[in-house]
Symmetry: C2
Subunit: 511 residues, 2 copies
């Protein structure tokens, strides 16, 4: 190793050449930042110098830097190199991170960001930190997923029309023609071992998670995963913090377990951790960091670290719902909370429903090791285990490379459909704010000036067979001032159907 003048000693950076080098470098540097060895403001070596010091290619270093940059661990100063970011929770002055993330949402009209940030909390100042207990959450309200043939702009559906059904049918045929009888009796409540292994490998390589097959529990979609967390970790009366606006079906799972819901505001950096910290302690927080549901913002790295510190301080649980993280269009995805978690406080929820199709009902939990046995035991009593064929066929689908190919195909399709929506979106409609940047996910949220106008636009859309959800419907019922907006899924139908739907919308909305 050459003796170069580096701002830190790379001697401890031992890389295994048999595995991906840039990921190892990224992980090693990230760890040093998190542990304070690389303090905020430290200047990072030029990529060329570090590459030479480590005897690896410059491209490898740049890929690692790109990921650290995308996640907010390092930042660039124009004309002045690259520095470790100031992260409040690990000491040093609490300097605001410059967020380099494209957020999926710009919620204001023309009022400026500061106004927006306070407005989006959706609670009056006296209630800012906490909405009141929602004892009377209306239980008749079903979550807003709708049934029937896909149409523009249904939320929650990927480009199902592109799924390789012929491959899928063949895998099913092959499995059922000559199954091993040992797999047809009662199975492992945590799921088929082979599928668990493949999911763990997928999460290690695509999401930077350091998990093993033993930590995976297969579920009937994300919903059963969330429900299990509620049943296993909550007692009646426990307080659960949830994003507001947020995923209402999760809220129902918590209230079914007897919990009291505490809405936490969401702004352009995601769940407001300062507001959470001011609230009476909660036993659990439910969050969608990769692509907040429904606003589409991404939880910033500073917030991620603050949230983890909060959970550690209060010995609370974090339910991280990573429902559509496969869809990232610009910038690299941030490391999930589960990848940053050192204390075993994060329960990670994943699903195949947004890559394949929802009716598959196949999802999974990644659990801290100590929780696997109680979760599997509970599952053995609630449903015993998942149907064998679906698990076995998905395992083959992954093992044979179809899954990774399909993810790429789906990402391209969603991006193309997003672009069609943005390009043909009717502009100049009264009361509708500007379209947001959309860096991730399968839906977007666009602001509307009032609840009355939101409802009117939705009604008019329905008249021309266009389906749009009201942003206000994602707020907790007791929220004093839910924001109005339109939530549109852009992946459910192909580009020609999107163009046609937008033409109809333009006409009916202008009249």
């Amino acid at each position: 190793m050459q003796a170069l003048s580096l701002p830190f000693d790379p001697a401890g950076l031992v890389l295994d050449r048999r595995r991906g080098l840039s990921r190892q470098l990224y992980q090693a540097l990230r760890q040093r930042v998190l542990e304070g060895q690389l303090g905020g403001g430290t200047r990072m070596p030029a990529s060329r110098d570090l590459a030479a010091a480590l005897g690896i290619s410059r491209n490898t270093v740049m890929r690692a830097y790109d990921q650290l940059y995308a996640e907010g661990f390092i930042e660039g100063r124009v004309g002045d190199g690259t520095y470790v970011a100031q992260l409040a929770h690990i000491g040093g002055p609490a300097k605001k991170l410059s967020t380099k993330l494209s957020t999926g949402l710009s919620l204001g009209l023309s009022t400026g960001l500061s106004t927006i940030s306070s407005e989006i909390t959706g609670v009056t100042s006296s209630k800012k930190a906490e909405t009141r207990a929602l004892e009377n959450l209306e239980t008749h309200h079903l979550p807003p997923f709708r049934q029937g043939a896909p149409r523009a702009f249904r939320v929650g559906l990927p480009a199902m029309d592109l799924f390789p059904f012929e491959v899928w049918a063949k895998l099913y045929g092959a499995f059922w023609r000559n199954p091993d009888l040992a797999r047809l009796g009662y199975g492992d409540p945590a799921g088929e071992p082979k599928l668990r292994q493949l999911i763990a490998a997928y999460l290690r390589s695509s999401r930077g998670m350091n998990c093993t097959a033993e930590q995976i529990v297969i579920t009937s979609g994300a919903q059963e995963a969330i429900g299990l967390c509620a049943q296993l970790l909550l007692d009646a009366g426990d307080r659960v913090a949830i994003e507001n606006p947020g995923y209402r079906a999760a809220a129902h799972a918590f209230t079914n377990a007897g919990a009291t819901l505490c809405g936490v505001p969401v702004d352009n950096d995601g769940l407001d951790c300062a507001a959470l910290a001011q609230m009476a302690p909660c036993r659990m927080v439910y969050t969608t960091p990769a692509h907040q549901y429904p606003t589409g913002v991404t939880l910033s790295l500073a917030r991620r670290l603050a949230l983890l510190a909060w959970a550690e301080q209060h010995q609370s649980w974090i339910i991280e719902d990573d429902y559509d993280s496969e869809y990232r269009y610009s910038g690299a995805p941030l490391a999930p909370l589960a990848a940053l978690d050192r204390q075993g406080r994060v329960l990670y929820v994943g699903t195949f429903g947004k890559v394949a199709f929802p009716a598959l009902r196949l999802g999974y939990l990644v659990l801290p090791a100590a929780l696997v046995e109680p979760f599997a035991r509970r599952r053995s009593v609630s449903v015993r285990h998942s149907e064998i064929g679906t698990q076995a066929v998905m395992a083959e689908f992954i093992a044979k490379g179809h899954f990774q190919r399909h993810i790429r195909r789906m990402r391209r399709a969603a991006l193309s459909r997003r672009d069609t929506l943005l390009k043909h979106w009717p502009v100049g409609i009264a009361g509708i704010g500007p379209m947001p940047e959309v860096a991730a996910g399968l839906h977007l949220s666009v602001p509307v000036e009032s609840l009355a106008r939101e409802q009117q636009l939705i009604r008019l859309a329905e008249q021309v067979d266009v389906e749009i959800n009201g942003l206000s419907s994602y707020w907790l019922p007791a929220s004093p001032e839910p924001h109005a907006g339109l939530v549109l899924g852009f992946a459910a139908v192909d580009s020609s159907a999107i163009v046609a739907a937008l033409a109809r919308l333009r006409e009916v909305w202008r009249s």
Copy 2:
């Protein structure tokens, strides 16, 4: 219609000649008995006379009589014709029904029935009516279903080796090759409409139930069905009566909902309704009337009616788990409680796991109409709905006639395997009582003289790769004196494997 001297007026018996006549006649007569129009002790017309009066064949009348006889609604006196039975709950003296049912169990050794009946209660006299609250039910105990390749004498497995996998594979291939995208998004939480229709039709024709598709809710096997009942109908602290010995996995579902378990003794007529009536009222009773799990006895008609009356009186719920009712080898099956229920107190649980295979995880509830909406709503939050492919393929399997053919094939196979077990069972082994008659189901229970001997026999069996469950393991933990016995599933492997396993058992048990 001829004017014959009949003991009752058949004028109201209007039969639709386009549908099965014997079933209509059976239903009409059963209804008259239940409603008291045909009082206990009424002499039934000779089959020839009734046939002539109604203008139908004598065979038709005899089939209807056979069913009424098998269910205990009518009884024969030797040399003296056929009479309506005395059924306590519908008025008239509470005369003991002569049970004409072959029970699956003879629990005594040579002590005589009266001793057995008091012994089998498994509770001391001071605790007879009720075992104490089981607050500390050990939650680490997993239900006794075992995993891995089928072997003799695993409980809970049908003859999976005879399942028509080629047909099943083709149906899967056909479904997935060209699916309707409208079915791949979010579906009906109560289940696929077509499958619900077919199940309702099957239950109407095979189980005499008067149900509609709207009453069916598809579940992940019987276990999810039981769990939903627990979650929806129980509050913490509610008392739930369960058969003791009984199906422990159901007990776990109730304790998970915060319920207090109350064990009810089982004798040769099934759940002891008199003991139940003496207990403090329970919000729910869980029972396996067709083939008590694990003893194999059948709940008598008198008990069925008493149980329904009890539920009506206390406004309690009856969970009727009809898990293996397709397997009846002698005598016609009794009408399920759900078919006798007039007050909407019975929730009927069915499963495809014992006809196809358990890993299918496909079961259903038949609910009183008022409960369908809350159950579907809860299911939409707990798992959303069941995977589409399994539901669609099972619907095709039924619609194309494969299901009914398969039931017949499975019944023949189970009967043949039962006969092999009975024929080759080693006799004269110390401490093992006589084999019972086995009129139904997929397993039997044979008494053993002591718990120590039970455990010894099971250990020895395991040494020669034979799997047997201890009857004592089906008792509630706090039961003072669980009975010892061997519970053997006889359908899991073919006859040659049964013969081989029994030869090994004979050797190891005699040594």
